[in-house]
């Protein structure tokens, strides 16, 4: 049965954020259920079908299900366009209402409200603002409990369908092949998407393709971080986005090889210990 996704009204999101900032509603973020005033909601034009999926976050390792959750969520909202998917009213509603249990489990607050002092209250408020709300920029979308999953899948799903001229040679059986690489570790997600270059699907997929073909490199946080840093530096004087697929792949490979050579075994051991 199809229906239309509810979202919060802008005024409601503004008020919720204000009340949280003032600490008035912080206690509610320790509760599994919070009633919603229908007057604060409105139907969107986003068509959804019942039943809504359940996102899982096992207590012992909530990060482990990021990939399956991303695929399930993207499959549930396949027609969402980029403009809709950057609307703060949608994501606030999903984290507070439709996927509240998941958001609590994956990005909830530890302990109890009664244990918080002034300093930890402020930290808790900032943490909730970061993972339960967005404000219209991609940094917030990368960190929001639900938005980050949808965008991870959206940015990486079957690039050969979106841009066959550029990615035609990368066709895979699994449309989420590159989503799997992106969400393989938290480090890959953070290091690759936190850089402004990650906004270019051409650079993003080229880097993920390299990581997918070089498992050892992809396991090293230091190497991934250095690779992205070096590519970012190069971007300052060279518009990598204008390169053709072959040129871009060669550049990523050459930069990664230089990074591998510069990061010594001792560095890797320090990294492993940390």
């Amino acid at each position: 049965m199809s229906n239309y996704q509810k979202i919060f009204k802008r005024a409601a999101v503004d008020r919720m954020r204000d009340q949280l900032r003032a600490g008035i509603t912080l206690e509610n973020y320790f509760k599994e259920f919070e009633s919603v005033d229908e007057a604060d909601c409105l139907p969107s034009t986003i068509e959804v079908r019942a039943p809504r999926p359940v996102l899982s976050a096992p207590q012992d390792d909530p990060v482990a299900t990021d990939l399956e959750n991303a695929i399930v969520l993207h499959g549930y909202y396949p027609e969402l366009d980029e403009t809709q998917a950057s609307d703060p009213r949608l994501w606030a509603y999903l984290s507070h209402v439709d996927f509240r249990a998941y958001t609590m489990a994956r990005w909830g607050l530890d302990g109890s409200y009664a244990d918080l002092n002034d300093e930890s209250k402020q930290k808790a408020i900032n943490y909730v603002l970061e993972h339960w709300f967005t404000s219209g920029n991609d940094r917030d979308l990368r960190r929001h409990a639900i938005a980050r999953l949808w965008w991870a899948a959206h940015l990486t799903r079957a690039p050969w369908e979106k841009d066959p001229e550029f990615f035609g040679h990368l066709v895979q059986k699994d449309p989420y092949h590159y989503t799997k690489i992106l969400l393989q570790t938290q480090d890959i997600y953070q290091q690759v998407l936190e850089r402004a270059m990650g906004r270019s699907d051409r650079i993003l997929i080229s880097v993920l393709d390299y990581l997918g073909n070089h498992a050892e490199f992809a396991q090293s946080r230091a190497k991934i971080r250095s690779l992205m840093k070096e590519l970012n530096l190069a971007y300052g004087t060279r518009k990598l986005i204008t390169l053709n697929p072959e040129q871009l792949a060669k550049l990523v490979e050459k930069t990664a090889e230089e990074v591998s050579a510069s990061i010594t075994e001792a560095d890797s051991e320090v990294e492993a210990e940390s």
Binding site: D14, R17, D18, Q19, A22, I24, D81, E82, T83, Q84, A85, S86, P88, S135, G136, N137, D138, R139, L141, W151, L155, A196, M197, G198, R199, S200, G236, T237, R238, K239, L240, I241, T242, L243, N244, Q247
Partner: protein, 281 residues
């Protein structure tokens, strides 16, 4: 149009005095449609060596488009000084930044731009595909189809809200999509009584909104400002540019955006005084 200078490994046209001649955006128009956003840049290029590279298909004009709200970054290339590029409207929202460059299309050995600064002597450079050969600055626009930058409703970048404190000074919150003027509960009650009435609009604009907007204009003009990624920031910046107010003082800019609130306020006061005098007769 803004131009950032930086240190390149080779001389770059438009980057300080690296290279003589000119590369700039002569004109830039954008069309916001329901389905598409169309960019129409017109370039002006005067440098023999780089003109030759473009003619020989070794370099191109490049337009780089970036939208921080939707994970969007792409580039368009052309060898014509007048171009037309199309972006699907649903790929971008709010502030969109557009950068203008000339880039090498292939590796070029012994690149020696004409009229390069004497400091470079007779040196030649090996440039690679993608290397920037010319910088033409960057600009931004607001990709909101229902939004007319020439007549922006103040409510698109500013709101007045009730605070959680009972009395005391009003506060400004710059951290959201819109600037929020946060009134005490006591002030909010008075505000709620008079808002929406024609007679009070000019006075509210002059007494409540104008001082905040003046401060906001200072924030927008601060190149190292803290709020550069906020939607209100880009909307005010786009309005200043669209209205041609770049050279005006912050106080004058704010008055023009609000369409002369002091004048409207004085007229409202005069109207009220006339009513009072009539009542006293």
């Amino acid at each position: 149009m803004k131009v950032s200078t930086k240190s390149f490994p080779h001389p770059v046209l438009g980057n300080e005095d690296d290279v003589g001649g000119e590369f700039k955006l002569a004109e830039f128009r954008y069309e916001l449609g329901k389905e598409e956003v169309v960019l129409n840049p017109v370039f002006s290029l005067k440098n023999k060596a780089i003109e030759d590279l473009i003619k020989k298909e070794k370099a191109s004009f490049v337009v780089e488009v970036e939208c921080r709200g939707t994970f969007y970054r792409t580039s368009f290339s052309s060898r014509e000084t007048t171009s037309r590029f199309v972006i699907p409207a649903n790929r971008i929202r709010e502030r969109v930044t557009v950068g203008f460059y000339i880039c090498a299309d292939q590796d070029i050995a012994n690149y020696r731009p004409s009229e390069s600064h004497p400091d470079y002597g007779s040196n030649a450079f090996d440039v690679e595909a993608g290397d920037v050969l010319g910088v033409g600055g960057y600009c931004s626009f607001i990709a909101e189809k229902s939004y007319d930058p020439l007549r922006p409703p103040v409510s698109s970048f500013m709101s007045i809200r009730e605070g959680t404190f009972h009395e005391g000074s009003a506060q400004i919150d710059y951290t959201d999509d819109k600037i929020a003027i946060v009134l005490s509960k006591s002030d909010w009650k008075h505000y709620a009584d008079v808002r929406g009435q024609k007679v009070s609009e000019g006075m509210l604009h002059a007494s409540v909104v104008l001082p905040v907007l003046v401060d906001a204009v200072y924030q927008v003009r601060d190149e190292n400002g803290y709020y550069i990624d906020k939607n209100w920031h880009s909307r005010i910046a786009a309005t200043i540019e669209a209205k041609g107010l770049q050279d005006k003082s912050a106080y004058e800019v704010a008055q023009k955006i609000l369409e002369y609130p002091l004048d409207r306020s004085f007229k409202s006061i005069e109207g009220l005084l006339e009513v009072t005098e009539d009542e006293s007769v």
